[in-house]
Amino acid sequence: MLRSYLPALVFLLLGGVVGLAFALLNHRLGPHRRVAHKQDPYECGLPSEVRRGFRFGISFYLVAMLFILFDIEVIFLYPVAVRVRAFGAFALYETIVFIVLLAVAFVYVWRRGALEWR
């Protein structure tokens, strides 16, 4: 009965260990800069307090859009990955087509310089 909880326990432990390990490694190895931004609630993205006339760069939109595009890709891949054996070769080909199309988009975005922050 209790044995069926074992995977959950292992999962929790592993999660804790991995998370701690990365946090520690980051703390030991990462560079430390003491700047005012470090005290902000959110370290990246927009400043949390802005004046009325504040304008932020168009790059935000571009990066956010591209992030969503390539992030959503994964959502479509998970279900196929779980059931790929049941669908057989058909699912594999479909996935390949899907990934190739995304790769085209990625190459295009990359070569056109949309990933460079301006």
Binding site: R83, A86, F87, G88, F90, A91, L101
Partner: protein, 536 residues
């Protein structure tokens, strides 16, 4: 338990590659062209991107012809491949290929990056193919959006010319309103009939006695408004002159010809398949719209001095003529509309190709002054324009006459004789402005250019250009007439443009040919009309 489930083989959907092949050719072409646009060398980008775009259009044309006479539903009934879809597809793909030819030297494709420009043209054409094949309100909306969004961008591709940006923005705003209206209407139709499939909608209306259901009628009205926005039917046409004038001329050509064909294609399929049982309710409204369109377009064109605005108002009037074939909802009406769409492609291509050529030669833009004296200086440009104008007006021995004849015949047979009379009166009024262009070409001297003529760095354009083809066109060249040649030095950027002139000549010749021997186009239109099975 879970093991057994995993072991059970699930079957993927059946995919009819043949039926999808025209759309796949266009979209595949778009992907390849987009990647070619990344090539480091500018000249490679220009030549290879446009060349591959032409190849993609040729492939789509081949696939369309290969599928001819098919009659099947594909993608779980979302799309229908029949002769109506394929016939309109032929028109769309030809328009796309012509757009590529016209854009060959356009500033727009260079400024936007050649890969993007041609990829967007291909994507938009694919959207139109989806639209005319749509058999489901969802694929209908998908097609509308896939055709519109690339067009919004394409209108604004001359990045350094503010009218182009203005036209892109206007088209975006108006087009979005149109799309939203259409979607709202589709939702209401779904609410009333409980289905998104055209056939199921038709049977729900017929069996449920929904023909005068307020919810359904409201939905139909909103769909009419949305599609009228897209096909520039008055009174939803106000964007048309501004957008046509501001957009780069090759894109204006594409919008005028292809968008109209796609919108009228879906008008035919949606109203004559899904809503055919409610015809008594919507036909008078559509007939009224057609009348308003004919009046507004023809009267609006009278005062225009810009050729593109003139052709835009003419497009509004022509949309009215085309709607007449939808109103009657008979096979004859569908045939007449498809026939007129094919003719409309030819005559508009001829007219716009001449506008493109003169825009690049003279620096006068699309003002009517740009074609003054064309008959003396460039007869091989003046003739296609003359034929196009006469055909748009419906003079006998041109294809436009035959097309109008079929439309009037269909209206009279379908119980809308008065609409036929409106078409005749509209054509008579339209002669006033079409003949003005013809008169400017043949009866006026070329623009007096004074001292700039001598200083022009482009003398003897026709014969002296290194690009001039020594073919039949070249031999008919008059020895550089004194005026009308060259134009103001700063504006004249291009010399002889074989692909534009060739396109104008081919389209003009085809307009006359199908005016005298209409039977090939009649066969095409008959097959398309007969594929609407619910009509008689």
């Amino acid at each position: 338990m879970s093991v057994a489930l995993a072991a059970a083989r699930l079957h993927g959907p059946h995919i009819d590659w043949g039926g999808l092949s025209p759309i796949l050719a266009l979209l595949g072409g778009a992907v390849v062209v987009l990647l070619v646009g990344l090539a480091p060398r500018r000249e490679v980008r220009r030549l290879v991107a446009s060349g591959l775009a032409l190849v993609a259009f040729a492939a789509a044309l081949g696939c369309t012809i290969w599928q001819w006479d098919a009659s099947k539903s594909i993608v779980s009934g979302a799309l229908r491949v029949d002769d109506l879809a394929l016939a309109v597809n032929l028109i769309l793909v030809s328009a796309g290929a012509a757009t590529v030819l016209l854009s060959w030297r356009a500033r727009a494709s260079g400024e936007a990056g050649h890969g993007e420009f041609y990829a967007l043209v291909l994507t938009s054409t694919a959207g139109m193919s989806v639209l005319v094949a749509a058999q489901n309100t969802v694929s209908l909306f998908l097609g509308i959006e896939l055709l519109s969004i690339p067009l919004y961008v394409l209108c604004a591709t001359e990045l350094h010319r503010s009218p182009s940006l203005e036209s892109g923005l206007k088209y975006l705003v108006i087009g979005s309103v149109g799309s939203a209206t259409l979607l709202y209407g589709l939702a209401m139709i779904y609410g009333a009939t409980g289905s998104t499939d055209f056939d199921a909608i038709a049977s729900a209306i017929a069996s449920g006695g929904l023909a005068s259901d307020p919810l359904l009628l409201t939905g139909i009205a909103l769909v009419v408004v949305g599609l009228a926005f897209k096909s520039s039917v008055a009174p939803f046409h106000q964007w048309t002159p501004d957008v046509y004038e501001g957009a780069p001329t090759p894109i204006t050509t594409f919008m005028a010809v292809a968008t109209k064909a796609a919108a009228l294609g879906i008008f035919l399929r949606f109203f004559d398949v899904a809503l055919v049982s409610a015809q008594v309710s919507w036909a008078p409204a559509l007939a009224a719209l057609a009348t308003i369109s004919i009046v507004v377009g023809n009267v609006g064109a009278l005062g225009q001095s810009s050729l593109k605005r003139l052709l835009a108002y003419s497009a509004v009037a022509q949309a009215g003529y085309l709607l007449a074939g939808v109103v009657v909802s008979t096979r004859a009406g569908a045939r007449a509309t498809v026939f007129y769409l094919a003719v409309y492609l030819l005559m508009n291509l001829a007219a716009f190709a001449v506008v493109v050529a003169r825009e690049r030669e003279t620096g006068l833009g699309d003002d009517i002054a740009a074609v003054e004296g064309l008959g003396a200086s460039r007869p091989w440009l003046a003739w296609p324009m003359t034929i196009a104008m006469l055909s748009l007006a419906g003079i006998p021995a041109t294809a436009g006459f035959v097309g109008k004849l079929f439309l009037i015949q269909a209206s009279a047979d379908g119980g809308y004789t008065w609409l036929g009379v409106v078409i005749v009166v509209g054509s008579m009024v339209s002669l006033a402005y079409y003949l003005r262009v013809v008169a400017a070409m043949w009866m006026r001297p070329g623009p007096s250019l004074g001292a700039t003529e001598a200083a022009s760095p482009y003398p003897a354009i026709a014969g002296g250009s290194p690009e001039a083809d020594p073919d039949a066109i070249g031999t008919s060249t008059p020895a550089a007439p004194p005026a009308g040649d060259g134009g103001p030095g700063a504006g004249a950027r291009e010399g002889f443009q074989p692909e534009v002139v060739g396109l104008a000549l081919a389209a003009g010749a085809a307009t006359v040919f199908f005016g005298i021997v209409p039977s090939p186009l009649v066969d095409l239109a008959r097959a398309a009309g007969n594929s609407l099975l619910g009509l008689f």
